[in-house]
Assembly symmetry: C2
Amino acid sequence: MIKDATLSKVAEKLREARDIVILPHINADGDALGAALALALALRNMDKEVDVLLEEEVPSNLDFLPGQELIKKNPQKSYHVALNIDNGDITRLGLREPYFHGADIKLSIDHHATNKVEAHYSYIDIKASATGEIVYDLILTYLGGSLNKDIALCLYTAIVTDTGGFRYTNTTPRTLEIGAELLKYDIDFPYVIKKVFDMVSHTKLFLMKQTMNSLRLLEQGKLAISYITYEDIKALPAKNDDFEGLVNIGRNLMGVEVSLFLREDPKGHFRGNLRSNNYVDVSKIAEKFNGGGHKRAAGFNREGELEDVIAQLTDAILPELRREG
Amino acid sequence: MIKDATLSKVAEKLREARDIVILPHINADGDALGAALALALALRNMDKEVDVLLEEEVPSNLDFLPGQELIKKNPQKSYHVALNIDNGDITRLGLREPYFHGADIKLSIDHHATNKVEAHYSYIDIKASATGEIVYDLILTYLGGSLNKDIALCLYTAIVTDTGGFRYTNTTPRTLEIGAELLKYDIDFPYVIKKVFDMVSHTKLFLMKQTMNSLRLLEQGKLAISYITYEDIKALPAKNDDFEGLVNIGRNLMGVEVSLFLREDPKGHFRGNLRSNNYVDVSKIAEKFNGGGHKRAAGFNREGELEDVIAQLTDAILPELRREG
């Protein structure tokens, strides 16, 4: 492999560091935390002094990750080298931002195209499916380090988190090649899959149930409409994340071409999500309601009574649905 | 790679064949059909005359598979070479069994440990995650053939079908290495994932909804109980397959250790599924009701009223649940 000059410099600075702080973004997900812990474990195995700083608890779906003994909360010290990881906006370090600015040498590695972090050396690979993929190369090719079962488990978690378990379009042959190498360490990968993808919160299960109960089908089952009212959820600790994917319950039903999902906010306004499977351009429909998006995924906001909003959307969707199919 | 003598013979007989019939089991799934079509396409590209015989229509979740022009229903001919594929029991060829017995040379490839098919050459690799994995090696290493985008799509479908998208324990480093090679053909793998895993039938969605609506939690959310009554489903065309995984709705809920799912049959008897996540041995509980299984997955049958059966099971589960956790 031809070495990248910037990533070589990142590795060089890590190797030369007196001590290192690794800083993932707030609310670190499986990629941020998995990549951070994998790198920390590899550096510790190279006898480097390294801390990973978090300001929250490790979320329960990632509580199995090895290397958590390297996590610190608010150490009263400054570091020689700071590494910002999987984070495109330095303010997303939250209360830990001073550890980055206070370091003698500031490094950054990420795979987000939107990254705008300023550092002495900032490596961004937007072709990498996950920061875990970059860390894999960083450890083996650039740092001259090695993997073990714990590190492999962290990297596997990182990569499956950001690829939906090798299912999203960002998955490349290289992603699967790295996955193959990680599986050679005999990691309990079905357990990771269960923790990261299968476990569902009480709130999420309730929202899924409400969505299914509200689901109606029109136009010989080609149009699926479902909704969550504010009345349904006002007692729940539902976050925006919890509503993600609910529109797909309708979309994934056999025979459905367009799925509409409406969510009422405390003011009685509706946020609408539109998805299509094969031929309807839902961005056109969303635009009629001052929204927008892509051909297969779009959104809009609308005021009015639930059934009125449904009727308006149905009127806009049906002609598109009848064009083909 | 060291060549296997039996698989070498299978390849030799295919190369020498005047014509070939490929026979997957009835109700062919993504592995059976994907592997069959991949091999048929590769053999056709080697100028062999080859048919794939099916007695049903291609299921809608596999209607995108290339090579369907090679599928025949009931040709009035016999074949020089017949290949039984992904099928451990020759009676599961159904009406097509005579094509196998009538061939001059009978071949078989499979990855099921239970395979008991008699053939001139029968290759069984129980370490292969899918028959598609065997066909990958058969084409490239043994037949000296080559892949293309269509063949790669068939093999990818075969392998993800039998590994749950690289998620089941049968996934090996080799499985992911082959996945990496297949992705190099620029196949639309997210579409395959959508068709094979995400699409849900109307019946399945209804059963999921009923399961969620019936769900109750006991013992601070550690025990989840859900059920489907015969009354719920008597009007539905529900097959046994449709009930698969419903017990996991409870199991995957955060905080749950044991999930019990009951399904009533037309006689008013209950089929019970038990699952646990971490420490309860559900096989012990199932044994008390003359059932059995494994530590984390067990089942039993029970007669009685729904609430009585739930009470009996709860009494048996609670002491186990309280041992730890």
